[in-house]
Symmetry: D2
Subunit: 161 residues, 4 copies
């Protein structure tokens, strides 16, 4: 396992999507810092925002009406600095790979310039009814590749992380 | 990133600690399966049980009275099969490494023989008041090494996972 | 609004169902005590246990296979003493009323003899597909009335709380 | 127990504070609707926003630096319509009473004009170190009374709910 080193917020692609979140009292633990599973819950919400605000894909509709799931098959987090209650953080998702029936992204979480956490999230698309693998739907695939391209890395290429 | 393949529950060391958990309605999402951050929250509870029932260390006392934190600096999960509401799962923590101011463990999560998820958790010990690194306290270190030994791998050695 | 006064655990009906729960690190907030919404989440889990272990009704099956929801239309909590991490609590549900398409229960939460919280929960049964009211299914109704009777109050009567 | 009837969003005082929240995938349960304890967690976050954006009191500072807790001694919710994933809701807190060492508010939760839930929240101020009752701090009391007044009901008076 190699753990990423923090990078400043300003070094991320200017064109990347950024979702603001505030760390809440109820997200924190008796140590006074964000309880780490909540980084992942917050990242899931940031992906919902990415879909709605940037990709133009209705995340909820995709699940409820189209019956396609975007569950995670792998999720890793490196926690560099604690988040504390009241902090406003920016979550910046960068697509790393768009595969046939999966895609992978890095979620950078910054407070100001300081990176607090980096998540590596791998999603597999499934038919919810049967819980079997299904290709990334064409509209989602096109939107993901376009976003990846706008962020400055050629589709299908790893970004240096 | 290499993702582990599932292994049957019966292939884990017989002497390992096992914590039973039940997946609850409220832990699951609209896809009807465990919302993945909850695997990590459940693993944190399993570590609390490991401390209390096997290591003989009071996790809560260590935080509240001794002022020592055991926060995670890295947490990765590979989700092999979905957990569904009502499932009873066994969480089996296996220590991988005990360092100077950190320790790492694998958390195997099985439903019957079937591995549903594998988590890789790296903890750093800190002084809660200053949020600075501090050596693993001697009583905790001794207990961790003893548990690692009981599980059949020599202290300080990586287990084949 | 009248708030109930705490009553000792031993004053509850001996025949009542009791579900043990442990308060976890991750359930607590920066004040070091259980974050209050988690009392309600824990109560929902206790109702699942009541169904499985005492009523003989599969809560999850009822939702997933039979398409019947048991959502809450009202939930009130009076929090008498804080719960702290590591506490083991007993949750004792007492049915207060079984109606045509709803039922109400009190959830008593004790740590030893001391009542920490009392919840008043009103459930309405619904068809999940249409989200419309539906009568309490006959098997559930019979089980609820039997349980209420075993706890010593005549079916359909309010217990003195 | 009397349960309130829904009132349209536009009937609330124009001067009241409103906090927007979005219902997330991870907040919802297998019935596809917001898991009810999350209404209370969301309300706690809305109170944090009320403090920061309207009362000018740093909620987190009050807990972490001043050692004053604002825990709930009573919390009741009436759930009129289910919240579903993706919904944007407005949370409108209206103060009902400011006492010596406690205050009470109603939290109205609307989606458009439709009231989804109404929460009745009673807070007691405490010294966190000793967990004993303490008067509402003068700056907080003044801010609460001012807000109550701005919303159009005389300080110390119940609003018709």
């Amino acid at each position: 396992m190699s753990r990423p080193a923090p990078i400043p917020a300003s070094s991320l692609p200017a064109a990347a999507f950024r979702a603001p979140f505030r760390i809440r009292f109820g997200d924190c633990d008796p140590a006074g810092i964000l309880f780490f599973p909540n980084w992942f819950a917050m990242a899931n919400a940031a992906v919902e925002d990415l879909f709605r605000l940037r990709l133009g894909i209705d995340f909820h509709q995709m699940h409820a009406a189209r019956g396609i799931g975007t569950g995670f098959v792998h999720a890793a987090g490196t926690f560099m600095r604690p988040g504390t209650m009241g902090d406003e953080v920016l979550m910046t998702p960068l697509l790393r790979r768009v595969g046939n029936a999966s895609y992978a992204l890095d979620m950078h979480i910054h407070r100001g310039e300081e990176e607090l956490a980096r998540l590596d999230l791998v999603t597999a698309t499934t038919q919810l009814a049967t819980r079997t693998s299904t290709p990334v739907p064409p509209d989602l695939r096109a939107a993901l590749l376009r976003y990846q391209d706008e962020c400055g890395n050629a589709a299908g290429q790893e970004i240096p992380a």
